[in-house]
Amino acid sequence: MHELSIAQNILEIVGEYLPSDRRGLVKTVKLKLGEQAGIVPDSLEFCFNSLVEGTNLRGAVLEIERVPFVVRCNSCGRSSISESGLMMCSVCDGADVVLISGNELQVTAIEILDEEKIEA
């Protein structure tokens, strides 16, 4: 539901790395998104595409890498994916677990086309 403001934040970050006359060169913005980050990928992509349309970032694509919700169990020592987002070990059902990943919401890379190719 707040994907629009998230998409705005992503574009602000991208803008910091590129002067406005070079933003047309942005091909891909890469994002790490945890399974439990509370963001719907399709909505985020839709908002991102809507925002770049008609701006100097037009054509830029948001590439989302999903990160599973992983917990490490203090009882059995194993790490496992918890599909449901429960703080519970999927191997031994132990509840004494530590969160390893799954809440990510990070811009990790911006891919930029070479200027010469655009001119050609």
């Binding site: 998230i6 809440n103 911006i110």
Partner: protein, 220 residues
């Protein structure tokens, strides 16, 4: 093609402002809670009961967040408490910058406790740090016992769960033990309390807990 490799949190701006808010609260010696829940769980009723119970004991200030209207701020103002209303005009959650701006319109110099009542929504407010000491999530018995499983992020990010409308248990399809079990399975560290704003059950315990935390904050 060239690649700029970066590692930037999308919500870093919000987190920065939240940290600034936290410094302001710390300077003022304020204990701050961020009250979150779905719409209609009884956040504002709980707030009214809390303010009434803590009157003459604790100096409280309130920030109200709603999508539209200042109805909640009016309910709180009647109780003689400093209150400011944030109207998000469609926004589904409060952000740290909205709270920072609201702080300019409220006198916190005498307050010991600041309660921020977030927009009723179990999804988005989970992502946004406002600078609070902790999130307190309210779930009412009328919502059923599976809410923590459906909206795990909110229950995972909260420190306290208040199960409200406990007086309605005999009439609704909600198993109290299942609700607690579900909440603890997404967040084993959750502190759980039960309240009713109709019978006042649990209100004193909740207020004692608040007072205890205010005192503890002052000792640190």
């Amino acid at each position: 093609m060239s690649v700029i490799t970066i590692e930037r949190k999308v919500l870093e701006k919000n987190d920065e402002v939240a940290e600034q808010n936290r410094e302001v609260f710390s300077r003022l010696g304020l204990f701050v809670i961020n009250l979150v829940s779905s719409p209609g769980s009884g956040k504002t009723s709980l707030l009214e009961k809390t303010l009434a119970h803590l009157r003459d004991k604790v100096r409280v200030a309130v920030i109200e967040g709603d999508v539209q209207t200042d109805l909640d701020a009016q309910r709180v103002a009647v109780l003689g408490v400093p209150v400011v209303q944030i109207v998000t005009r469609g926004g589904c959650h409060l952000e740290a910058s909205l709270v920072r701006d609201a702080l300019r319109s409220i006198d916190l110099s005498k307050a010991q406790l600041l309660i921020i009542e977030n927009v009723g929504n179990l999804v988005c407010p989970a992502n946004y740090d406002l600078g609070e000491a902790m999130k307190v999530v309210v779930a009412s018995t009328t919502e059923g016992d599976d809410k923590p499983l459906k909206y795990p992020a909110m229950f995972r990010n909260a420190s306290v769960l208040i199960i409200n409308k406990i007086d309605l248990l005999p009439y609704v399809n909600c198993n109290l033990e299942s609700l607690k079990h579900n909440a603890l399975s997404v967040n084993p560290a959750l502190h759980i309390m039960e309240t009713s704003c109709t019978t006042n059950k649990g209100i004193a315990e909740w207020c004692d807990w608040l007072q205890h935390n205010i005192l503890r904050k002052n000792e640190i």
